[in-house]
């Protein structure tokens, strides 16, 4: 508006009048829209029948989505990705129209800085207050302005106790045991997870700037590479329960699922530390069906619904009151519910700086070769 006036010369009174009239109208409309929005920060009914969900592969119960459709009349189009970076790359390359995405903690921060996320107005949701205290104010989204929690878990390792007899309990022992099982071990296809674990195994801190420490991590992972069966972030449940790999970098929930298929499966919360990761629902800029996205977010904050997600994926969630809907056998298993001491080993991980990230890329490329 300021710009408009400064551009108009005195000789154009009429036009000025017109312009200010137009401005006034647009202001009125402009105010009217947010007001309508304030009442409608949470939609009273779905708009259209579509919702484009962009989620990790194999990360949500299909039956849950079917029930969502049955209860709300909104069809969910599911697109999947295998890593945060892949999802980010897709959005940055100009994919618009995803309504709900599922970024992990550190990725929320990156995406928010890049201006890729929109405010979700959680407080207007009927279920907006259902957050467990420890998930209401995370480092990556203070006050939960952009996200609501989905599931969370820890990265440790799993093994078959009938095959691996050394009972490894730390990353150090994990890496040391790998050469004993040539062609029978797997690590993630994820530079951050793998390099962090290697650093931890030697007593160093993740995101270190020390070149000697990174070199040591690179040497370590290069030395175990010939013994790896696969470098993969998906398909590991079957690999572990089927015995294709007997010692694998694993998430706790995936390991619990493998355990259901093979009782010899053990999950380890490494004593030298591990990341606690938290996945979240967020609405990206450019979403087509924002109202339906909000309905979905709210629906997923209902304890019964999120509990069904937890029961299917075997990861715990951040919604209060969901405990009573969780499967008792799962809840009793430490692979699903770590003890307080085990939980204390988990650290919420902020992303490394760009400089350190580039160093990580060097280490990773040298490793992959």
């Amino acid at each position: 508006m300021k710009l408009g006036i400064s551009n108009i010369t005195v000789g154009h009174r009429k036009r000025l009048a017109l312009a200010s009239f137009a401005t006034a109208v647009s202001l009125l409309v402009g105010i009217a829209i947010p007001q309508a929005g304030a009442a409608g920060l949470y939609p009273s009914k779905p708009k259209g029948t579509e919702l484009n969900l962009f989620n990790w592969s194999n990360y949500i119960d299909p039956a849950l989505l079917k029930r969502f459709t049955a209860e709300t009349g909104i069809n969910v189009n599911l697109g999947v990705y295998d890593s945060n970076a892949q999802m980010l790359a897709k959005l940055e390359a100009g994919a618009r129209g995803y309504d709900v995405i599922v970024p992990t903690d550190y990725m929320v921060q990156i995406m928010q800085k890049k201006g890729l996320l929109q405010r979700i107005h959680r407080n207007a949701y009927p279920n907006g207050g259902n957050l467990k205290a420890e998930f209401a104010n995370p480092y990556f989204d203070r006050g939960r302005i952009y996200t609501v929690p989905y599931l969370h878990g820890l990265t440790g390792f799993g093994y078959l106790k009938d095959k691996v007899t050394t009972n490894p309990t730390t990353w150090k022992e994990f890496f040391a045991a790998i050469p004993s099982y040539p062609g029978k071990t797997t690590i993630f296809d994820d530079k951050k997870e793998v390099i962090d674990a290697a650093l931890r195994s030697m007593g160093y801190k993740p995101c270190t700037r020390s070149l000697t420490q990174l070199q040591a991590a690179q040497d370590l992972i290069k030395s175990i590479k010939p013994n790896l069966n696969t470098i993969a972030s998906s398909g590991n449940i079957g690999r572990l329960s089927g015995g294709t790999s007997v010692l694998l970098m694993m998430y706790n929930g995936a390991t619990y699922k493998a355990k259901l298929a093979n009782p010899n499966v053990v999950f380890v919360y490494p004593k030298d530390g591990m990341p606690l990761w938290q996945d979240n629902f967020a609405i990206p800029v450019g979403a087509k069906n924002v109202d339906n996205a909000k309905i979905f977010l709210n629906w997923m904050m209902d304890p019964k619904n999120i509990a069904q997600a937890s029961n299917w994926a075997a990861y715990n969630n951040g919604i209060t009151g969901s405990e009573k809907y969780l499967l008792p056998a799962m809840q009793a298993d430490t692979a699903f519910s770590p003890t307080a001491a085990q939980m204390a080993l988990g650290v919420a991980m902020a992303p490394c700086s760009t400089a350190v990230n580039d160093l990580y890329t060097k280490v990773w490329t040298a490793f992959k070769g």
Binding site: N58, A93, A95, G235
Partner: protein
């Protein structure tokens, strides 16, 4: 002296290699076909005949949705690519101009360039110009890929015709538009069908370009299946792979039969 009669068997290694390569080509396909009827939960160990995994496929909404997406791209893609390729074949005639050669080389480039190059190039272009990754952007990326393939049958059909027909028509004063609408296009109709079929299959099959250029509503069948394959062998994937084997093969056989019977009946009529 015994008469030496010549046969293929006299050329060394020819017959055993030929037979071996057919076995090599079909062993994997037959394995998939057989194991899709496996009763076992284990994808690779045979335990008895069953069609149970085929029925689970029908409940897989993601699979069906992605198949619909693929069809919604492949059908228009086949039509557009066949039309554009027809235009190209008719328009260039026997031209040998330098500019036209360059342009034709550009159109045909997807035949010879590694797909990874063209797909990241397309992605980079779309993001540079600010074209959102959507249905139409994916559709056009597919059309570009299919046009040079669609061009092949049309071109060879045009060349096969008695060139005198076209020349006579021109000499008698028919305008080029009239030559096109009255002679070229009617003659090309059977070739258009095979161009369309070729484009349809290439579009249905494409993975890399779709991976880079797909947007929220365009998770195609190959993208969905690639995600499944990363999980390793499962009974469900056995069935999907078997269907991907059976459907195009049947389509192809029906197509071949249809064209041969058509040709025969045409020949009979001409007699």
């Amino acid at each position: 002296m015994r008469q030496r009669t010549w046969s293929v068997a006299h050329l060394p290694m020819i017959r055993p290699m030929g037979i071996a390569s057919l076995i090599f080509l079909y062993l994997p396909l037959l394995t998939v076909l057989i194991f899709s009827f496996n009763k076992s939960e284990d994808a690779t160990v045979w335990s008895g005949f069953s069609t149970r995994w085929y029925s689970t496929i029908l409940d897989n909404t993601d699979l069906i949705r992605s198949a619909k997406v693929s069809l919604s791209i492949a059908i228009p893609c086949a039509i557009i690519a066949a039309l554009i390729a027809t235009g190209l074949a008719i328009g260039i005639g026997k031209a040998t101009g330098k500019l036209q050669n360059i342009l034709r080389a550009l159109v045909n480039a997807p035949l010879v360039l590694p797909e990874i190059v063209t797909s990241v190039g397309t992605l980079a272009l779309f993001s540079l110009v600010g074209i959102p990754l959507h249905y139409s952007s994916l559709l056009f990326a597919h059309v570009v890929m299919c046009v040079p393939f669609a061009f092949l049958p049309i071109r060879s059909r045009l060349r096969d015709f008695d060139q005198n027909i076209f020349e006579a028509a021109r000499d008698l004063g028919a305008s080029s538009v009239r030559v096109m609408t009255k002679i070229s296009v009617p003659l090309l109709i059977p070739a258009l069908l095979s161009s369309g079929l070729l484009s349809f299959i290439i579009s249905m099959d494409d993975f890399l370009t779709s991976l880079f250029v797909s947007g929220p509503e365009t998770t195609t069948l190959p993208i969905y299946i690639f995600g499944l394959l990363k999980l390793g062998a499962t009974p469900e994937v056995n069935v999907i792979a078997a269907l991907l084997l059976i459907i195009p093969t049947l389509g192809l056989l029906v197509g071949i039969r249809w064209t041969t019977t058509r040709r025969r009946s045409n020949e009979a009529r001409n007699k």
